[in-house]
């Protein structure tokens, strides 16, 4: 059993990658991801991790190198943030389409302009349609657990898709907090050695990445879409196994005091913890408020979401990235679409909060809940607002 220690979350992330017998790491520094790759390069330099650490010249090359490495059959890791993700985005689509089980930690950060190194979810939302599996951590322990989980899911032959583990930049990445790191035997028990299904091998030559003309592109995308959807069962199964072995439980959509809640907050990422504190406070005041928080962003857990929110009259959905001028933020789009498809129509308000490192406080959540209650009572139109934008 691993020991509970205080450490920076980025260091813990690198440590668990080191425990996973990674073969190749290719990365380019960008704040706030840097501590993860710095520590990985130290682990390699000190001989604690037997891997190739490739200090590439850009994020585009980081992901390209990862694609080459994974196609050659190596367990492959990288990490980035924000603009770095934007630069590698082209290749992220290809990594997923080629079904390569790369694991990437993204220390979530806002996108320029204005340039801003602080946390929001613009980068992970840009990755929404790439076909990567995306999980979301709310604290340091979850970062460690989800990275370990990511390798197991990605490499499962029923899945073979890349996995992005999202952790809020600074708010998580630079936080020192208690972490239980698993020991090597525990990791080995949970994570079998990587056995590639297809591989670039002169003894069995294959052509990776052929031209897909109109006759096959549709089928290729259909197959990929099915694979991403089907991955959910394996993701859940791997979490169940994780709970059996480590005792910590994860679900695609998690809830907090939601059973009898009339109003639900819906969040994703580290603000979910603050939201729990807000729920406690409002519950103490006699309000029937609860929380649903997304652990899994892609594949989108529609059924689990419906189960979590179907009893609520009103939802306050918090987004941390904009879809400028669209009907609402990307999380809320998904929520509304899911509910509409099933004939559910609670009152939904969307709050764009915590942009570019702006704090999201307990008080902010209380205000959101009050606004939703007010809107529902008065029949105000549903929509979105950018929280705390000064007039």
């Amino acid at each position: 059993m691993g020991k509970r220690v205080g450490m920076e979350v980025s260091i813990a992330a690198a440590e668990v990658v080191g425990l996973c017998d990674v073969d190749v790491i290719a990365a380019y520094p960008i704040t706030p991801q840097t501590h993860i790759v710095e520590h990985l390069s130290e682990l390699v330099a000190d001989g604690h991790l037997d891997a190739e650490f490739i200090p590439v010249e850009s994020e585009h090359s980081a992901m390209s190198t990862c694609v080459g490495s994974a196609a050659a059959g190596a367990r492959t890791f990288t990490s980035t943030s924000s603009q770095g993700y934007a630069l590698m985005a082209e290749i992220c689509y290809i990594a997923s389409s080629m079904r390569l089980p790369i694991v990437m930690a993204v220390a979530n950060r806002a996108l320029s302009a204005p340039i801003n190194i602080w946390n929001d979810h613009a980068d992970m939302m840009m990755a929404r349609d790439t076909g990567w599996i995306q999980t979301v951590a709310e604290n340091g322990q979850e970062v460690v657990d989800l990275i370990l989980h990511a390798f197991r899911v990605a490499e499962d032959h029923r899945v073979l898709l890349p996995v992005m583990v999202n952790l809020d930049g600074f708010t998580l990445s630079h936080m020192i907090e208690p972490i239980i790191l698993p020991d090597k035997e525990e990791v080995d028990r949970y994570l079998p050695p990587y056995k590639p299904k297809l591989r670039l091998d002169p003894q069995n030559p294959m052509t990776f990445g052929p031209v897909g003309m109109p006759e096959v592109y549709t089928e290729a995308k259909k197959a990929q879409d099915e694979a991403v959807k089907e991955s959910k069962a394996v993701i859940v199964e791997a979490w169940q196994e994780f709970e059996k072995q480590f005792g910590r439980s994860y679900k695609p959509v998690e809830t907090y005091k939601a059973e009898d809640a009339e109003t639900l907050l819906l969040t994703m990422g580290s603000i979910s913890e603050t939201a729990m504190t807000a729920v406690d406070k409002m519950r103490a005041d006699g309000q029937k408020v609860g929380l649903a928080h997304l652990r899994l962003w892609r594949p989108f857990p529609a059924e689990e979401l419906v189960d979590a929110v179907k009893g609520a009259k009103a939802l306050a959905v918090v987004d941390r990235a904009l879809s400028l001028s669209g009907g609402c933020g990307p999380v809320c789009v998904e929520v509304k679409s899911t509910l509409f498809d099933r004939g559910l129509s609670p009152y939904v308000q969307n709050f764009l909060a915590g942009l570019g490192g702006r704090d999201v406080t307990v008080e902010d959540f209380e205000t959101m809940v009050a606004k939703v209650g007010d809107g529902l009572a008065k029949g105000l139109p549903m929509g979105y607002e950018i929280v705390n934008a000064r007039e």
Binding site: P32, M175, I176, E273, D359
Partner: protein, 182 residues
């Protein structure tokens, strides 16, 4: 839950103070968070770092707005930073200064409970450098008891290696010399 704010200058070790405090608390089996003020400030600029310590799991990712405890690592900051901002009435300020409590209260216009220690002198005499991070942890421990010196030992060893013992000496001497307002 207690919240602590450290004021220092970039490069002086304020962030290290915060980290060591959290690590010591975790060593004691408590829950803790430590984080810097994530800014673009570079060496020399006034910076802050924060710590939360609790017996229960900490479920907030808010910034620290109302610290119960404030540690000022550099006396020159008193003139340029409102170190008392957000501190509740029953909060305490632990300040590196050559002044007495009374002098400090008068000169700096501080209204909260005070603890003072000449950490710069202790650091120079013990460590030969005016880096007061571990020294001020001795003062914090004396003034608040938020962590114990014993729990600090491990994290300091790990962080400072060969100079850990000297840092612990400075810490202990500050513990002895800190004057805490009644």
């Amino acid at each position: 839950m207690v919240e602590i704010r450290f004021h220092g200058r970039g490069g002086q070790g304020g962030v290290t103070s915060a980290e060591l405090t959290a690590l010591a608390a975790i060593e004691e089996g408590k829950y803790a968070q430590a984080f810097p003020s994530f800014g673009p400030e570079r060496r020399g600029a006034p910076v802050m770092a924060f710590v939360r310590v609790s017996d229960q799991q900490i479920r907030t990712r808010e910034k620290v707005y109302s610290p119960n405890m404030v540690v000022v690592l550099d006396p020159t900051l008193l003139e340029i930073v409102d170190v008392q901002a957000g501190v509740p009435d029953d909060g305490i300020l632990v300040v590196n200064t050559k002044m007495s409590v009374d002098e400090l209260r008068k000169n700096a216009g501080l209204t909260r409970r005070l603890a003072v220690v000449d950490a710069s002198t202790i650091a120079i005499e013990t460590l030969r450098v005016p880096i007061t991070n571990t020294t001020m942890l001795g003062a914090l421990i004396k003034a608040t008891g938020v962590i114990s010196v014993d729990a600090l030992r491990g994290p300091v060893q790990k962080r400072f290696g060969p100079i850990a013992e000297k840092n612990l000496q400075a810490c202990m001497r500050a513990y002895e010399e800190t004057v805490v307002e009644g």
